[in-house]
Symmetry: C2
Subunit: 341 residues, 2 copies
């Protein structure tokens, strides 16, 4: 029986007019007399009419949807970004498709391709890992794209993007430690976020050099593992850094820092009394661990809303300059002045 939902045709029949008239009446077109307009609009609600966005999309060649591909939902960092995207999108009556790619370039591309089949008006890619070849094919789709904290170099040329200033963030972290009196500072990073890791590590080295501090290869640890969770990486690698004699550790992100913290707690190494730790991202958990984590704050939700705003500009044929957002230092309890012995 009547599974089919009511269409403007049905309303047209009921009102004794053509479907064009109904379409115009529902859009409040001045071409239709006020009486007929009111009558049809009333009829529409009475009959429980819901416009078919699929048919509209086909006709208008515009779906009012965007696709958002993210490495992992579940990751507290990205879920905040998603929130920012969704909020702006919703306020503009555009719906968002969500897909996750697990840092796998293939899955990432497959997701984007799927979005393209659905004729999304634009796509947002978080933490993009795509290859040059994939980027090429995506460009050929001619679908407006904006990258959030992209992980591959040389992408800014062909695509729009918003990203945090990794170098500045790392600088804030390391300078903070130096000002506290630390002279032997280690870095704990990951290789599967190539670009940002390189930038943070680079800034770490730069600042140390600027301050004329000692640098040793064994103070820089970058996990090559692709599968381990960040916390586990931090937990496993922190001891090696401590053995190398550092008094402070700058971690690639908060989860690694938390892992390091756990390792210290387990070994009875006092944080911040014996070693200072600073993270990056300022995820919610950073406030709840003991000691609360000193970290570099990324405005995650703004990252998302900015990206969506840029996409909206693109869709409206407005110019949309790339944006880099500024991170800030958040001092909590995992860092402390280093007293020379």
């Amino acid at each position: 029986m009547g599974r089919r939902s009511v269409s403007i045709q049905d309303i047209a029949r009921a009102a004794g007019v053509s479907h064009s008239t109904v379409s115009r009446a529902l859009h409040n077109s001045s071409l239709i007399s006020m009486d007929v307009r009111k009558h049809i609009q009333q009829l529409a609600v009475d009959m429980g009419y819901t416009p078919n966005a699929i048919a509209q999309s086909l006709q208008m060649r515009r779906t009012n949807t965007v696709g958002l591909v993210v490495t992992s939902i579940g990751d507290p960092f990205w879920s905040d970004v998603v929130r920012g995207v969704e909020e702006i999108a919703r306020s503009h009556h555009i719906s968002v498709f969500l897909s996750s790619a697990h840092t796998d370039p293939e899955q990432e591309f497959a997701a984007i391709e799927q979005f393209h089949r659905r004729r999304v008006d634009g796509v947002l890619v978080a933490d993009a890992h795509m290859s040059k070849a994939h980027a090429e094919r995506i460009m050929r789709m001619r679908v407006p794209t904006v990258l959030i904290n992209c992980q591959v170099d040389g992408m800014v040329d062909w695509s729009h993007s918003v990203a945090v200033d990794d170098a500045l963030g790392a600088r804030l972290a390391v300078e903070h430690l130096i000002q506290l009196g630390h002279r032997t500072i280690g870095y704990l990073g990951v290789a599967n976020r190539p670009l940002s890791n390189t930038r943070r590590l680079g800034a770490y080295r730069t600042v140390l050099r600027e301050c004329g501090l000692n640098q040793l290869p064994e103070w820089e640890l970058v996990s090559q593992d692709q599968l381990l969770e960040d916390a586990t990486i931090g937990e496993m690698l922190a001891p090696r850094l401590l053995d190398a004699g550092v008094t402070a550790i700058f971690c690639y992100n908060d989860m690694i820092a938390i892992g390091a913290l756990l390792a210290c707690n387990a070994r009875g190494i006092g944080v911040p009394s014996q070693v200072s730790i600073v993270g990056f991202d300022d995820i919610p958990a950073a406030r709840f661990v003991t000691p609360a984590l000193t970290t570099i704050h990324q405005p995650k939700q703004r990252l998302g809303s900015q990206a969506m705003s840029i996409l909206l500009d693109l869709l409206a044929d407005r110019v949309a300059p790339n944006v880099v957002v500024t991170p800030t230092l958040v001092e909590r309890n995992s860092t402390r002045p280093w007293l020379k012995e």
Copy 2:
């Protein structure tokens, strides 16, 4: 210039056949000779053809999309559920729309309505707060719906659902505390998750009664606040419970428990030496706080994948019994035997 992407019409022209033939060839229909089939398929990839899912949806009266409305992305609990949903959906080539409702029934309904306009094949609602009237209107849409950890009573009648066994979870928590020797146990809850809070509180009372333990009104604290974050609620209310003389607190969820933990730490009250705390949910942060939180584990991702599976059954006209998943106790370091003084 050629912004329009290539259609089967274009391929048809290039191949000198009708668009029907192209359509059939691309679907590997045996109605088309093998030669023509191969030729057209080759042509399709050469010309960079991407099927238009919008047009297909309109024709097939099926979009292969589902809508997922959740209270808050960002919430570590729900983001795990989203992950479960997305994973199953993706493996079945169906895309998911994501929207958040912030525990507001109106926004919740608006999101579902938006999904319906887009003619999603089904919707998933997490932590549903909808009113009876809204439920009525949703039912009238005739769109398959499955609820995840629904928060309003009497919904199971008209809708499918998957939920954790709140009563069992609470029982596990309270019995655990009792077995440790605690005799004065408090409950810390929230009113804006009506159903699950009621059930957990109810089970708490039941278990205490079964064990013949003392119950005092001031040992039950349920925050009526609608805006505060859970952690803040825990932080603010825990002291009142301590003042009331409890030696253990069962919290509605982990974030509240973490808040309580923070309050204790701030006041120099030892956990678990002076007071035991147990949470609910087993969010990632529960492992990282000190002391690591004893809690009730909810299989969050499974909650999502189960819900999506049920929805798939519904879409295939298969019978789909509601499922209630079983929570388990995870013992960590925030609980300890109570030694009578």
